[in-house]
């Protein structure tokens, strides 16, 4: 028999308050190791361990690749690296982004579930989009415990909302309840049954290409433009052979960002063509080639009309709030 001794925590936008409270509530004699992935802009990452050391009773550090896992410690994912768990040790790798993040929550959760099965507790806190939902589902599938911060109290509700909806979350708790529940769960004895029939790959090596798993889709990877296949892990997960992985929401956001970038590119090209056609028109007008000149000016005018259409499209595209796609529709 073992006790549950691997706690994995994922937070994103608005997650700082929740992380503060959670770490503050963990006792110094906690019989578990805690692993945290918090999405932050790259220029802000790396300060979380210093800050959490001011708050909590457990020592907190930036995780280092291959270090042994010690109970009673908090390991934080370093900037631009995935944090993974193997049997007895920590892995810190620069694998492909998942859900457009590195570090991402899903690979941490998935790796913990495969290494420690029923000994794992996964916690999803405040955040946008849905990173962590698929990973929490794998934790639940392999007998671990899934905990989600009550979306009603989270600063940003989308991530806990998604996890609550899709990930077999047994515990929807307020942040003040999560710490005490974790302590209680780590004191329970459990049998560590681990299934060996995993259909899911964890790609930690950029040099390796996976064979596509799941069914082919008509979509291409926004990162590398390779084919995407789809599998279901409580929620749909899209994978390319290089290992880039997307939830449906993060794929949609990436596609829409590509649309916007292409629209701006097209707009710039149109402005260039108008400028050139007007120059050509002037040139032929000077040569007294009035028909040719008129054709250039007419085409330039038509292209100008297209720029107005494109401007309107870009403005409308910017107004779509992808982060709130699951919110009720307000007429």
């Amino acid at each position: 028999m073992n006790n549950r001794n691997i706690i994995v925590v994922g937070a994103s936008a608005g997650g700082f308050d929740a992380l503060k409270r959670l770490v503050n509530d963990l006792p110094a004699n906690l019989r578990a190791a805690v692993f945290i992935v918090w999405h932050l802009p790259e220029d802000a990452e790396g300060i979380l361990p210093d800050v959490l050391n001011r708050i909590g009773k457990l020592p907190c550090k930036t995780a280092v690749d291959l270090e042994p896992i010690q109970l009673g410690r908090i390991y934080v994912a370093p900037p631009d690296r995935h944090l993974l768990i193997e049997d007895g040790r920590v892995r810190v790798t620069r694998g492909p982004k998942e859900n457009r993040f590195r570090p991402a929550i899903d690979p941490l959760f998935r790796s913990a579930a495969y290494a420690y099965g029923t000994l794992v507790i996964g916690v999803i806190l405040s955040g946008a989009l849905d990173d962590g939902t698929a990973g929490l589902w794998v934790i639940g599938q392999r007998g671990g415990i899934a905990i989600v911060q009550d979306p009603a109290e989270a600063s940003i509700a989308a991530m806990p909302q998604s996890a609550k909806r899709s990930a077999l979350a047994q515990n929807i708790l307020s942040i003040k309840e999560i710490g005490p529940r974790l302590v209680a769960l780590t004191r329970e004895d459990v049998v560590n049954h681990q299934k060996k029939d995993s259909p899911v790959h964890i790609n930690t090596d950029r040099s390796k290409r996976n064979s596509l798993i799941g069914e082919f889709t008509p979509f291409t990877c926004p990162e590398c433009h390779d084919d995407l296949s789809i599998i279901n892990e409580g929620t749909n997960r899209f994978n390319c052979p290089s290992g880039h992985t997307f939830s449906a929401d993060s794929l949609l956001m990436a596609i829409n960002e590509n649309i916007e970038a292409n629209l701006w590119n097209t707009l710039r090209n149109l402005h260039e063509s108008i400028f050139l056609m007007n120059q050509m028109g002037d040139h032929f007008a000077e040569l007294n080639e009035r028909t040719i000149a008129a054709n250039y000016f007419k085409q330039a005018k038509e292209a100008h009309r297209h720029t107005e259409l494109l401007n309107r499209l870009i403005t409308e595209n910017e107004r779509i709030p992808y982060n709130t796609m699951h919110a009720p529709i307000v007429e």
Binding site: A13, G14, G15, F16, D17, K20, L40, P41, E42, D43, A44, E45, G46, I47, L48, D50, V51, R54, P79, S155
Partner: protein, 126 residues
């Protein structure tokens, strides 16, 4: 009386972290997520220290620093600029009293804050 520190930072999570560190130093942080919101707050009350991020949704942090230092009404208030790109700052006129490179170490950040607040107190007394 607690010293007031205004923070102009559009990323709410970074603003929260900076606010948390300032509270730990016994200061009173006020976070604005845009220049417009910051100016509105400045019209109500002046702070003892201002921390400005370089990238803001409605303007540039360097220009805001210069405006604050060019204005006789605010020139005496220490201004700290937070930037991930110090080369960009080096190429531009920037009147900030100090530039903190992001990501920063907590201890360095705290000593920077305390140093400028001590200087400001000295200037006020003088």
């Amino acid at each position: 009386m607690q010293k007031k520190v205004y923070i102009v930072e559009d990323d709410a999570d970074i603003g929260d972290v900076v606010g948390f560190l300032l509270t730990g130093l016994g200061k009173e942080p006020y976070i604005s997520t845009s220049i417009q919101e910051f100016k509105h707050r400045m019209n109500e009350q002046k702070p003892d220290l201002i921390i400005v991020d370089i990238r803001l949704p409605d303007g540039n942090g360097i220009m805001l620093c210069n405006q604050l230092k060019d204005d006789p009404a605010t020139a005496h208030i220490p201004v700290i600029l937070m930037s991930a790109n110090t080369n960009m700052v080096a190429d531009t006129r920037c009147s900030a009293d100090e530039i903190i490179q992001k990501p920063f170490r907590v201890v360095e950040f705290e000593s920077c804050i305390m140093r400028h607040l001590a200087n400001e107190a000295g200037n006020t007394t003088a």
